[in-house]
């Protein structure tokens, strides 16, 4: 019998095909820390036919918003997001990097106007997707260390 390391969930979201080692960053994006009310399951370094090794995150009783999925795309462009309702996969979505990252990254340039209290959202233009390179729409600077600047 195949051993089930992670049990199915009734309602919630399964984020699969996360590049190995990125699961904890996904948790950070989802704001999963101390004050969590539902069960969260994390599987790291799981064998995967397609990827060799992968991470999986399961969050019960929660469906993700479009912005959260965009943020995941920044660090785990291969991930798939499955919405589970009553033990069934109700929706299956591959994360997709948008051409513009709106309101999900903070500019690394402390002197950029987008880091002040002006009434605008940060906006980055995706220059290349592999490797991911983004440029601030306002100050024109390329963002280094993208994961560290996710809002």
């Amino acid at each position: 019998m195949k051993e089930l390391r992670v049990t199915p969930i009734r309602n919630g979201t399964v984020i699969d095909h996360i590049p190995a080692g990125m699961a904890l960053k996904v948790l950070k994006i989802l704001g999963i820390g101390d004050g969590v009310s539902s069960t969260v399951t994390v599987a790291m370094h799981v064998p995967s036919q397609a990827m060799g090794w992968k991470d999986i995150v399961k969050v019960e009783d929660r469906e993700l918003g479009a912005r959260e999925i965009d943020k995941i795309a920044l660090i785990a462009p291969t991930a798939s997001v499955n919405v589970i309702r009553n033990y069934n996969v109700a929706e299956k979505r591959r994360v997709a990097l948008p051409d513009r990252a709106l309101g999900i990254l903070r500019c690394g340039n402390p002197n950029c106007i987008s880091n002040t209290r002006e009434p605008v959202e940060s906006e980055f233009l995706v220059r290349t997707k592999t490797p991911l390179r983004v440029v601030c729409k306002y100050c024109d600077r390329e963002l280094e260390d993208i994961p560290a600047h996710i809002l």
């Binding site: 002197n111 106007i113 002006e118 100050c139």
Partner: protein, 310 residues
Amino acid sequence: MSDFRGRDILSIRDLSRTDIETVLKASRRMVPHALGKKVSRSLEGKILATLFFEPSTRTRLSFESAMTRLGGRTLGFAGAEGTSVAKGETLADTIRMVEAYSDGIVLRHPQEGAARLAAEFSEKPVINAGDGAGQHPTQTLLDLFTIWDERGGIEGQHVALVGDLKYGRTVHSLAYALADLGATLAFVSPPTLEMPREILEHVKERGLSFKTAHRLEDVIREADVLYVTRIQKERFPDPQEYEKVAGSYRVDGDLLRESKRDLIIMHPLPRTTEIAPEVDRTKHAVYFKQAFNGVPVRMALLDLILGGAG
């Protein structure tokens, strides 16, 4: 012909080669007007707001001179003290207010990206007059105009950019534009202040050859244009090291003995010691002319944008 009417000028990279050529030709037509030998009323009744959140005497005065020469008027401030900004108003709100009082806005601001933000909140055209360490497109245009006018063109000219190439924003925008216009570039700087990699990559992508050097002597013989910038003291932890480095990028009579006879020397000014005063008297020196060129170039741009002549 490219249409400039109502357009924002935020970065030199927003302008195509055709756009730049349009501005250069229009600038040449403006020279007699800028000298006061001809009179124009083409912007009569128009108001230009000049918002200088940090002082920049040369840029502000040349914009005001340009607008006045075309029969228009300016309003604005130089320094944020005493304005609503000092009370904590956002730039977005300042722009929405000023937009209602004017036909176009010239903005100088200490933060990068300020002009792009301003343009988002203004229906009226915004001209970036410098945003922090970011863009300063009208400086680039007047530099290009100076080379084009003095040398009769830009393509194929050997242009050596000298000094602080790492932090100097004018040399970054200028290098992009010169590469797009087909100049042959040389980058001369101390090893610690070299041109950023992305700009070198851009030049390479254009299929142009360029040269990097650490000594002026290595480029002086072939240069048609020497574009000299200031090396700032604060870039060096050790003042003695600064003195040594700065001294080795000094343009003087000795160096010019090696140069082409029709070499031109440019500098965005203000200068400190990087060009010896003895050079001022030679025909190589065009930096004061270059400063004057700020007026016809800004006249041309204002006329194209506010007058719709383009």
